[in-house]
Symmetry: C2
Amino acid sequence: MKFEITILGSGGAIPTIHKRSTSQFLNIQDRFFLLDCGEGTQIQLRKYHCKYAKINHIFISHLHGDHYLGLLGLLSTLNLLGRTSPIKLYAPAELKEIIDLHFKISGKSFRFNIELFELNFNEKTLLFEDSVVKVYSFPVDHSVPCCGFLFEEIKKERNIIKKKIEKQQIPFHILRKLKNGEDFTYNDILLKSDEYTTDSPDPRSYAYCADTAYSEKIIPHIKHVDLLYHEATFLEEMKDRAIKTQHSTAKDAATIAMKGEVKKLIIGHFSARYNEVSHFEKEAKTVFSNTIAVSDGDTFNL
Amino acid sequence: MKFEITILGSGGAIPTIHKRSTSQFLNIQDRFFLLDCGEGTQIQLRKYHCKYAKINHIFISHLHGDHYLGLLGLLSTLNLLGRTSPIKLYAPAELKEIIDLHFKISGKSFRFNIELFELNFNEKTLLFEDSVVKVYSFPVDHSVPCCGFLFEEIKKERNIIKKKIEKQQIPFHILRKLKNGEDFTYNDILLKSDEYTTDSPDPRSYAYCADTAYSEKIIPHIKHVDLLYHEATFLEEMKDRAIKTQHSTAKDAATIAMKGEVKKLIIGHFSARYNEVSHFEKEAKTVFSNTIAVSDGDTFNL
């Protein structure tokens, strides 16, 4: 089952031809999520063959233009393509004002509902949960209220070893107990869960830290994740500018990854002033070796 | 001197990879104008090497998303690139609300002023005039208030025939009169304007009719222009849909061009349901032969 992240935009505040505005498409076991929605996201979704009509949940980290200006266009396209099922938006409350004003002025509304869940910028908050995945927001440190997002797969029950079970004709309710890790006596035989089942794979996790200054407050929220995306707008040579604008350097991102003991780091949101993103990767690797500087269209499978 | 139109987006309400949202870049003797600004316009301007930092006047025909959703991103980029000179926006008044709300919510403002001139949807109106060009708006017929725009070069004074003048040492104030077409007696000699000067080239004109139903009210405003852009969202096979949505078919556009006795017609705003735009050109040519169905990146020189 997939746990796949597609980078739709790796650029910073000024999008360029090769580095578009921030957005990521997630496929977690056929749940489809969109993370941020900078200008042009709907075209990037088409370009990289993402199943955008199946997105039900959109997460907007904050209301700087490069993270939300593609939203109205995407929603409008979904509407024109005939969507009727609701979209859940997890975003700063003010996004509702923007959507409402667009409706008022354009004289149009959509055939589907937009349900906006206001982000909590004070503490880690569970936003969504089903049988497969939990999604949390957590505060990051930017010039306007801004959240990161954490996607945690839910651990599956143990897997039955079929050839062992087939001989014994064990009833379904007992199989359930074995799958849950419980031992059980049946026909005077002790059935040990770990003899009849194998452990399910470790659940996978992904944390997304869009625009943020270097902040160690983030670390507990991203601790031990399989994959961390952390913005890296600047190189260390522009540390002053990073501090002033409440963004991070590649080294900052790597330091958070290292202190958070994550398995792998991807960095993006590169300032348009840099043509060569390999410098970001090189700088980050001095602190955290398992780092990739992303490009538009990159896909990461966990 | 240039009179050049670059097509930044030839698509309709749903942009696609090859047909982006409506926008056109005009260079009229080094005056740079932007017509509409659909999502992704700033990237198209980069892609087609348009001098977008030099745009001083932006014309927004109406407030459907595919004609304005790229504006905030473009303005934001101009600001980040250091612009300080004002931008003049000619648009429906409500666009100001959208810009103000974005500023309020993003916590950002620009270092340059945005001067909004409200469009008049009732009659032809002069929007801008300098020594080179006059720009007018005129009402078209769409589901929300919408204007077309007319760019008319101002006729230049006559050109001096240098070799004739050099012999005579004619003072500057008399040269001015000859260039203005006036005859003048100097040292008892009658200097005839048409002997010492040649006529300047005919001024060129371009009319832009974004989203509109077929409307013969447009004809007086576009009469005899050198180049007419008229939307053609549908083919005649979808005439019902065109009427319902207050858009035009290729044949409608061609009929306006024919009745307006224009020199050349370009059509665009093609619905995403059509993959092949040559059908639009073919249909239009049955009525008006000098028609081109545009593609993104096309450039037309008058």
